[in-house]
């Protein structure tokens, strides 16, 4: 469900970056106020745990396919919303920078879709209400399944909104929603089942780990303000972006004395154009190669 850069317009991407950046700042402030240094290495290794746990696959009955745990809700239960959000954000940053999962501009959208909803909505408003502090299998199971499904459902809905606002995909809202939402609801239920099974295992072996984390109550009204800000920023910005070119497009078109790009204006593919592109790639590649050789030679001489 990672959004890629190519699906997000610069304006929508920037708007969601601002929202996610504010959430990071807010969570960091809350964590600093707690002043609990024991949790710092715990967050680090639990972030690494999410990576590791995603390597362990399980077979999904009746489909012949396999899946892995997402880990968002699990982290929220173990760390509380603020620390879980920062931990999930760090996982998304590393996935974007080194694993080609998601994009740099789409990182703000991905943080909202994959970290905000499980940590700040699904955990406090669904899991905590259903499961509370109880370790009874029924309440734990109901809480995990409902919260994971809600988190993934909201996340996938947010993907649809961001994509439609960006105006890059031709898929109409309803068609896209009919593809995305049911499948993510099912994925959410499976994620909930796995989270439930893992938490049940922990409840049996080391129940102390599942004690409710400090600061894991319902987030204050501030969070509703962030959600509202995201919708307004993305909504208004996306509406502007989808009907008019964004600022960068507009200024470049003006500077180049061309038509502001609309639809088919720039679709011409001429032989000269192709020759130009090939020449630029050749020059860039050769210059890079020569510079690289020079640098390697300089390093060898130093050695």
């Amino acid at each position: 469900m990672h959004m890629a850069d190519a699906l997000v317009s610069p304006f929508v991407g920037a708007a969601f970056w601002v929202v996610s950046g504010s959430l990071i700042g807010y969570s960091a402030k809350k964590i600093s106020e707690e002043n609990d240094p024991v949790k710092t290495p715990l967050m680090g290794v639990l972030g690494a745990f999410v990576f590791a746990a995603q390597m362990i696959n399980f077979s999904i009955p009746g489909t012949g396919s396999s899946g892995h745990i997402g880990g968002g809700l699990l982290l929220a239960v173990l760390l509380g919303p603020y620390r879980a959000f920062i931990t999930l954000a760090s996982v998304l940053i590393v996935q974007c920078l080194f694993f080609a999962d998601g994009g740099l501009l789409a990182l703000g959208c991905n943080m909202l879709n994959l970290a905000f909803f499980p940590a700040f909505i699904a955990y406090p408003f669904v899991y905590r209400i259903i499961a509370g502090e109880s370790l009874s299998p029924v309440r734990l199971g109901a809480g995990c399944i409902a919260a994971a499904a809600a988190g993934l459902f909201l996340g996938s809905f947010s993907v649809i909104v961001e994509t439609v606002l960006s105006g890059i995909s031709e898929l109409p809202f309803m068609t896209f929603a009919s593809f995305m939402l049911p499948i993510h609801l099912v994925i959410g239920v499976v994620e909930g089942l796995v989270t439930w099974a893992v938490l049940s295992f922990i409840a049996k072996t080391e129940p102390g780990i599942l004690r409710v984390q400090k600061g894991s109550g319902m987030p204050r009204f501030t969070l509703a303000a962030f959600t509202l800000a995201a919708l307004i920023a993305g909504g208004i910005g996306g509406w502007i972006a989808s009907t008019h070119p964004d600022g960068l497009e507009w200024s470049i078109a003006r500077a180049g004395g061309r038509e502001v790009p609309g639809s088919a204006v720039n679709a011409e593919i001429s032989v000269w154009g192709i020759a130009g592109v090939v020449s630029v790639l050749f020059v860039a590649g050769t210059t890079g190669f020569v510079l690289g050789r020079k640098q390697s030679a300089a390093v060898d001489e130093e050695v």
Partner: protein, 242 residues
């Protein structure tokens, strides 16, 4: 997450300016209208140049590009099926609007991912974290990134060996169900928690006080501004010409 070089290429002027340049690169690529295929392809010059200058193995980047999210391909395919308006004829073949815009989505993804990966492969991760810190990114997140990077390979190896042991003892799909696997993940989690406690003790013994480093934010130097300016002009030139 292996690094190839401890020395970032001088073509960026520094780690911070490299991060700014890569963000500008992504913004310029994404500003290309959805029907301008050639303008996207020409921006592949950036990753090609960086890969050459920093000796980043092209095979490694290509391997990552092959793993590009199926979600993007689905969206690109969606455009091909929905927008069937004939747009142009190329060597006698009719090309529809959906083909071009779908191709642009796929090309933008490949070009931006290749650009980001090629820059990231030539800067060590701890220096990326320091650069982020100097951009006033909250220290909590920077410390978290450093710890995550440090322990992901350790726990990854543990997870791979657990999975291998499970696979050797299971037959077909038996023993690989959700609930059996959950116990495996649970025990990995318990080991992780124990490791966190050991890590905390050893970090405390070394004087750890909730933060890995404490660099104060500083402004950009003259050299960094020059590099950012030169790269911006190159990107702008590509956008104006193509």
């Amino acid at each position: 997450m292996k690094r190839f070089s401890e020395k970032s290429p001088g073509v960026f002027g520094g780690d911070r300016s490299a991060l700014v340049v890569v963000v500008l690169f992504v913004l310029f690529v994404l500003s290309i209208p959805k029907f301008n295929f050639l303008a996207v392809v020409v921006f592949a010059a950036f990753p090609v140049f960086v890969m050459g200058a920093a000796n980043v193995p092209a095979g490694m980047i290509a391997k990552r590009l092959l793993q590009v999210s199926p979600f993007v391909l689905f969206m690109a395919a969606g455009n091909i099926f929905i927008d069937r308006t004939p747009l142009l004829r190329f060597f006698g073949v009719t090309i529809t609007g959906g083909m071009v815009s779908g191709g642009v989505i796929a090309a933008k993804t490949l070009v931006t991912v290749a650009g980001v990966l090629s820059v990231m492969y030539c800067i060590p991760f701890y220096r990326i974290c320091r650069a982020l810190e100097s951009f006033r990114v909250p220290e909590v997140l920077v410390t978290q990134l450093m710890l995550l990077y440090r322990y992901s390979s350790v726990l990854g190896e543990e997870a791979v060996s657990m999975q291998k042991a499970r696979d050797m003892r299971s037959f077909g799909t038996r023993g690989k169900g959700i609930f059996r696997t959950a116990a495996l993940i649970g025990s990995l989690l318990l080991r992780t928690m124990n490791r966190a406690e050991r890590v905390y003790r050893s970090m405390s013994a070394r004087g750890f006080q909730s933060r890995m480093s404490g660099r104060s934010a500083t402004g950009f130097g003259y050299g960094e501004w020059v590099h950012i300016g030169v790269w911006s002009l190159c990107f702008l030139a590509l956008r104006l010409i193509f």
